[in-house]
Symmetry: C2
Subunit: 480 residues, 2 copies
């Protein structure tokens, strides 16, 4: 999930090449197998203006379901900002649990992502900004509601929604608005409170700083805190610009001041991504990374440096943990954070996903930045002809007033910067909050690994028990 | 609320002339006083297509609120299919309770009704069918959500939604979808189950028949059951047509077979309206009527008649209880059931309010009629360029699966034909069902009258206690 502040941005740099062609099964080198299907949905669920429709994709696997049981549960992943195959391959817990609990697996692709494009190749055509009009949470939830109704095919089945990050927000909101369609939701690392006025805008960067501060030694955040100015100092001469370009192996050497800003913004993004993907084993979720990559990066920043040049070189070495862990990247392309999926999230940030971010250099490793909604809004109008509605989400989903919701598990890893916008206290006894002290961004949704810390093993066990109890309760009430 | 079947229709014939001009207070001859205000809402809450907006009206009275209490409750009527002033004057219970409980009174007008027309005089322009696109339940609920948020003005206030009939459906759905905005709802005579596949289509006409059957003596329904054919028989000659036209004092004498059909459909509508407005005192809710008008009508049908002509005359006398109780109506205009408000409901019947109605002459006093969705749909396309979505409401509001809802009172009078589509069993202990054996259509929402039967007095008392408990609980939780 990309987080956009007024001045600088944090986000996911997706470096995967996805194998999403074909219609039958995922490629052999991917661990989880499925059929790729399509489902027709109305373009606009909420007006009677036109009858246009398009297809969303979904992934389907019923191999775990008990064939003698016509009422097997459905585990339904509410797809988020990206190609749905990527989420299917990075949500191993759902697959493991489906096997244990005999559930049908469905991963539904979010409209405007992957291959679920309402206007095909013209979906993001800059000359047709009206094509973005139906790119909203509510339209997406309706897609899912219709798809589940279709999949149930008239039978009374227990359906559980799963999602991580923005997908977790969707899973939670889906249960809130359609409790008759899903019996419960697992909302992993779902920052449903990261909206204006209900969460301090600096919390994401404060948590990231804390993660970096404790990863190796405290010099890590001291160095990063000094690096912004140090890099600027070095960049003040042409020789310095070359020195920076060489140190970071930039594909496009620094020239003007804009290039420097882009580099610094890119570096800032990397810190957030590293904290999110700070998993206890090698992984390729956001980029090919070692186990505990923050610790690895901070290892390169463990010494305090006397000169800007020394600090610069240490920074470059540290950054390579994220940008070139495989050692195969020839040069660093800092513009690569705007692939199709990130651009989708940029658009959502300009309609409903108005998440304030800011930071203060006095208590974080970041530069000071403020949240300026007016500027955000002007940029949105300029870039997409969209005027953001900063109050939409709180108006519809209640902000911090969650007293009436039920059957939602909110899990949050305390190493995850998004936990600052998560639900960390249960509003009532029908809602479950699971805290994973050693967890990064929705670690619990990933498949089991030998290196998993006890807290995530425990969290998954709790989640499995709660979900099983929902299903059992469903069968009792509906007289299986 | 108008109920449209494939063959014939039942509905409210609104014969009131409303005093809705001016901006300040209701006229002196109306019992309840308010300011008339306006509130700007987006035309389309659910897309980012355009930024068009328009004003909805609402009525406001804060004279009962404790001026020392900045957190007085708001009693918010979710306006339904008509001019909001009409509902304000016919919902006396809300006013009485507001006075007792120190609440601010708000009656919000439903978009596309009264003076809350999105496209002004062109709203229903037949040459601009696209103007009807945003005439939906969800858009309306969002109007209310925004208005309440505006009225709260940042304060943490308890808001209770009230509504009767379709307004009760809106009140219930509003609590389901926006539990963070209203602490509870009183949904009086709200047939939220009157939708395809979840309630038998003949239930409305069966209940009406039962009400008529027990009103005076059983001959009433026998006579009505015979009357359809009797009137047809008499109408088979020109002399007969004149006889009918004279007996019913038709403004436009019968000519072709279409005229006869219209007359019979009109009569059928009257029966439903009489059952709905079968209150224990004179009233002008749907038309100027005596107390217990069904009994009054059936008094004229207490004898079995030997000839069609005799039956016809008895029918004409009986019908006048509804059509000319004041004795001042010079002739009967059977086309008057399509005033602006009824035409609004006709449109909603062609988008989301797809309510199946049918009847069987073998077990009701009605002609046999079937529910033919295809025909309904074709007529909707012909009349409004609208293709009805018969599954929208169940998809969004759960049909009979209400297990997760809370803090809604569903009250139903057993004399009300709409009770057949009402919630008569509480799905859980957070939902209250109040049955009023002697009640017609949302009798409990009307102001107290000396003739009120004990069951409605008791119902109002229960409703008052439950609503007070919600408010008390709110203050405890939010630390008054």
């Amino acid at each position: 999930m990309l987080a956009i502040s007024g001045v600088c941005g944090l986000g996911i740099l997706i470096l995967l090449s996805l194998n999403s062609n074909g219609f039958v099964t995922a490629s052999d080198n991917q661990p989880f197998k499925y059929e790729i299907k399509e489902f027709q949905v109305p373009l606009d669920h909420f007006s009677f203006l036109k009858n246009a429709s398009f297809n969303i994709r979904y992934l389907y696997n019923n191999s775990f379901a008990d064939k003698g049981n016509k009422r097997s549960p459905i585990f339904f992943y509410t797809g988020n900002e990206g190609d749905i195959e990527w989420f299917a391959q990075n949500t191993g817990f759902l697959w493991e649990l489906a096997e244990k609990q005999g559930a049908v697996v469905v991963f539904a692709e979010h409209r405007y992502y992957g291959k679920s494009l309402p206007f095909g190749p013209n979906t993001f055509n800059k000359t047709m900004p009206e094509n973005l009009a139906y790119f909203t949470v509510e339209q997406t939830l309706e897609d899912f509601a219709l798809l589940i109704t279709y999949l149930k095919n008239g039978a009374d089945l227990p359906v559980v929604a799963f999602g991580g990050s923005y997908g977790g927000m969707l899973a939670a909101w889906f249960r809130m608005k359609y409790p008759h369609i899903v019996i419960g939701s697992l909302a992993a690392s779902a920052p449903i409170l990261q909206f204006p006025g209900i969460t301090p805008c600096d919390i994401f960067n404060k948590i990231t700083t804390s993660v970096f501060h404790t990863a190796y030694n405290g010099n890590c955040t001291v160095n990063i805190g000094k690096s912004w100015k140090a890099i600027e100092n070095v960049a003040s001469t042409d020789a310095g610009k070359k020195q920076i370009s060489d140190a970071f192996h930039l594909c496009n050497p620094l020239k003007g001041p804009d290039d420097l800003t882009k580099l610094l913004d890119y570096i800032e993004l990397v810190y957030g991504n590293l904290a999110m993907a700070n998993y206890p084993y090698n992984n390729s979720f956001l980029a090919p990374l070692p186990a505990y990559p923050v610790r690895q990066m901070c290892f390169y920043l463990k010494e305090l440096h006397k000169t800007d040049a020394d600090l610069l070189q240490a920074m470059a070495n540290a950054l390579a943990v994220y940008t070139n862990y495989t050692g195969t990247v020839k040069c660093l392309d800092i513009s690569s954070n705007s692939n199709a999926d990130d651009s989708g999230w940029n658009i959502q940030s300009c309609n409903q996903m108005v998440m304030p971010f800011c930071s203060n250099s006095s208590d974080t490793m970041y530069r000071t930045s403020t949240w300026d909604f007016k500027e955000v809004s002007e940029n949105c109008v300029r870039d997409y002809h969209l005027t953001p509605k900063p109050n939409d989400i709180i108006l519809r989903y209640g902000g911090r007033d969650l007293s009436s919701i039920s059957n939602i598990i909110f899990s949050n890893g305390l190493l995850d910067p998004w936990s600052g916008g998560g639900v960390l206290q249960a509003p009532n006894d029908r809602v479950h909050v699971i805290i994973i002290p050693e967890g990064a961004h929705h670690l619990d949704l990933r498949k089991s690994e030998p290196a998993d810390p006890p807290s995530v093993i425990d969290a998954r066990q709790k989640e499995a028990t709660i979900i099983a109890s929902w299903i059992e309760e469903f069968y009792i009430w509906s007289k299986k």
